[in-house]
Symmetry: C2
Subunit: 456 residues, 2 copies
């Protein structure tokens, strides 16, 4: 049976597959920081070369931001598109890393062997699972497993500013029968999962301006507006004592879970106490009338991701600063409209300002929530393939994160998208000491071989 | 008349006096930042050498922090002590300075000539007015104007941790008939002033700890405690909608102004609109039932001097940080007890924490308010001298800032202290582009010559 031969080839080639991943992990492709623009280009070029080795017609396409990698190869009736992203999150605070985030290492841990590096799980390790599956297939069969398009982005961690224009300008080239996206996780470590609900994301940065210069808190304290205080009061007002978000019209478009989905989620027996306990917490912080799983998968949020103002160095400085800043993000669900919420948020902030203060806003991207239809038979076929590999029935799950691309495939290319990934909750993505389990990488490659055998 | 000769000598020697000040301003003696410890020692040594040139028996005395400069000289019935500080505030944000803060320059501005540098007004320019008055006196008379002790501190901008122990250990050496302190300002640009009310200061730094590592806001947002939100809510609660501070027992010991002082302050015709307008503001931000002058001189405050947490770089990072930080300071009046308020504040913060968060506190110094008695006839004598120099009756005023040394002279050495200074409200002390008006420096030196003629 040729699938067995492909799986055997994957097992035998694992050391070489790891070497290739290590090379990609050494490239510090932090997309949000302009200092790493050359590294992003280098990562794209490395992927183009690897895809060309696999027989793809691959190229790095310039955008106003970081390049897109697009590759076409293989033949067949079904046309599958695979999406991943080669950019990574920033690494600060660097002092909390046990080693250089861009000097990857295979480490033995009590929970098994891990690949330790920024981007190991999000998303370089995951995207390489698909490429390695293609490589093994080609080694056994002499050809790719079907008609494939590979589409790799370099701006996923920085709001994807070039994505929609690129999809619109290259719609004919990118349109396929279904999109496969590898940027999600397993359910509770060992259950394979296809993610069918994703939250949207709206990112806003605000700067409160008060006095026209930094002031001495002795000479002006009490009488002069303090932008840090103004900002704190606004951010504090964003949620009430029950955890509900107070911005007018924020909940417009938020729908309740269908009963069938709620029942399936209840059957997953999510361990709420362990979920919070694993990160040192015990009190669900969101809407008090929701379970943590609902908070994460089906309820919107308003979070503060960064704040700064005044003197933040060693010692003390009795300053009233001229300005204070925050980065705020909203996770969106259902039919919430990110553009409408941005306007409601900005007006709500404006309405709370003292008459002698002003605010500047800077937008950091927005995407609506994504809700996949599982009517396409590819979903059930993939679910069977995943079940075969992991020996546990694969689940349809939600995801608290935002992977806007899934919705974009539907909106701009009229394609269904299927989110299959192999991350674990303790991968520390976006945190110091990110890792990807060697088992996830290995079984992820095998999973894609099985999925491709069913779909292509 | 010999006073006239001293004043003439001051006028003639002004260029050389400026050269000396420039030298002192070039030394970056930022006391709060450990990186500048050698510069603080250098400033102390430079002052010791200059005082020795003037005939003082001067030395730099080590402390656990930065050295004290102590010098004795002259003879006479009255023993006067002069206090100033040679350390300066940090210079960030450096990008807002028009030039290197430690490369001083005399600049022509529409409002007159200014000395531009960090520390020009606070306090190097001010302390040098006294030394230059002594120098001119000695040039004319061949001796110092009386029995003098000079006492210069290097930790005034960082909470003065060594001051009280040093005063206690050297009480016999430092005790004099009266202390003269030059670290305050004129009243509204041209009215000479003796400051008789000073606010105290309590500095607190707090760190809110939530999850045991930085989290992905998609994977945990909503369900997990966000330390920035917890901190914002606490800081927002610190004042109510009327500007009143809500910490329990905070107002214990706050007394109302005596009618006589209130009447004198009203006669000063302080221009509230101009005071705020000069810094781009228009709405008094403190207690709504108080005038801005009361807010500044006789009411306590709770200010946020710095805040930071999460991702604060370019771009966006959807992180829920493990911790968030703020630096908070309280200006104290009347009989408010800084130690009691610290305990009340810390308990009040603790009481607002979610059960799975914790807080760490770090103290940044504390001092009670200072209220001078003007019964000592030296006050009226000095007031007459200042009136002679400036041609406008000198006023007894309050000060929003905290100069703990004034109270310490009373508490630890049983001496009255007289605060006479020549700063202006637009000196931008603690801000970028600090300056000291050349007129203030020049007339400040002349003022001290006149005060010494009356007192010594």
């Amino acid at each position: 049976m040729t699938l067995d031969a492909v799986l055997a080839r994957i097992d035998a080639d694992l050391p070489q597959a790891l070497d290739r991943l290590m090379h990609l992990l050494r490239i510090p492709s932090i997309s949000t920081d302009p200092a790493f623009k050359p590294a992003c280009a280098e990562a794209a070029d490395w992927l183009v070369a690897d895809l060309q080795d696999l027989g793809f017609d691959a190229s790095s396409r310039p955008t106003p931001g970081h390049p897109m990698v697009v590759a076409h190869g293989g033949t067949g009736d079904k046309h599958l598109l695979f999406y991943g992203h080669y950019d990574v999150q920033p690494v600060d605070p660097l002092s909390l890393w046990d080693r250089d985030p861009f000097d990857p290492e295979i480490q033995d841990t009590p929970a098994g062997r891990v690949i330790r590096a920024r981007g190991a799980a999000d998303d370089k390790g995951q995207l390489m699972t698909f490429l390695e599956a293609c490589r093994a297939w080609k080694a056994v069969h002499g050809s790719l497993p079907g008609k494939l398009t590979i589409f790799l982005e370099g701006e996923e961690e920085s709001g994807s500013p070039s994505l929609i224009p690129f999809m619109q300008q290259n719609a004919a080239e990118l349109r396929a029968d279904i999109a496969l996206i590898c940027d999600t996780g397993l359910f509770e470590s060992t259950t394979p999962a296809i993610t069918t609900m994703l939250r949207g994301l709206l990112g806003e940065e605000l700067t409160i301006h008060g006095p026209n210069k930094d002031l001495h808190s002795g000479m002006y304290g009490g009488a002069a507006a303090n932008p840090i205080r103004v900002l704190s009061k606004i951010l504090a007002n964003m949620t009430d004592a029950t955890g509900r978000i107070t911005i007018p019209h924020f909940y417009d478009g938020v729908t309740e879970l269908p009963d069938a989905i709620r029942a399936q989620w209840q059957s997953l027996a999510f361990d709420h106490a362990k979920f919070l306990g694993d990160v040192g917490l015990s009190v669900p912080a969101g809407e008090q009338d929701r379970t943590p799983l609902e908070m994460l998968w089906s309820r919107p949020t308003a979070e503060i991701n960064g704040i700064w103002g005044g003197y933040t160095g060693d010692g003390f400085k009795t300053v009233l600063p001229a300005e204070a800043h925050a980065k705020v993000s909203f996770r969106l669900v259902g039919e919430q409209d990110p553009f409408a919420i941005r306007e409601h948020f900005r007006k709500w902030v404006q309405d709370q300002l003292p008459a002698d203060c002003r605010v500047e806003f800077h937008s950091h991207g927005n995407s609506p929530a994504g809700v996949m239809s599982i009517a396409n038979p590819a979903f059930e076929a993939a679910r069977q393939a995943l079940t075969d590999e992991w020996g546990i029935p694969a689940a349809y799950v939600g995801c608290g994160g935002s992977i806007p691309i899934a919705g974009y495939f539907k909106t701009y290319l009229d394609m269904d998208a299927m989110l299959i990934g192999f991350g674990r909750d303790d991968d520390q993505i976006h945190s110091p000491n990110e890792k990807y389990d060697l088992e996830c990488f290995h079984k992820g490659i095998r999973s894609w071989a099985r999925v491709l055998a069913k779909l292509a």
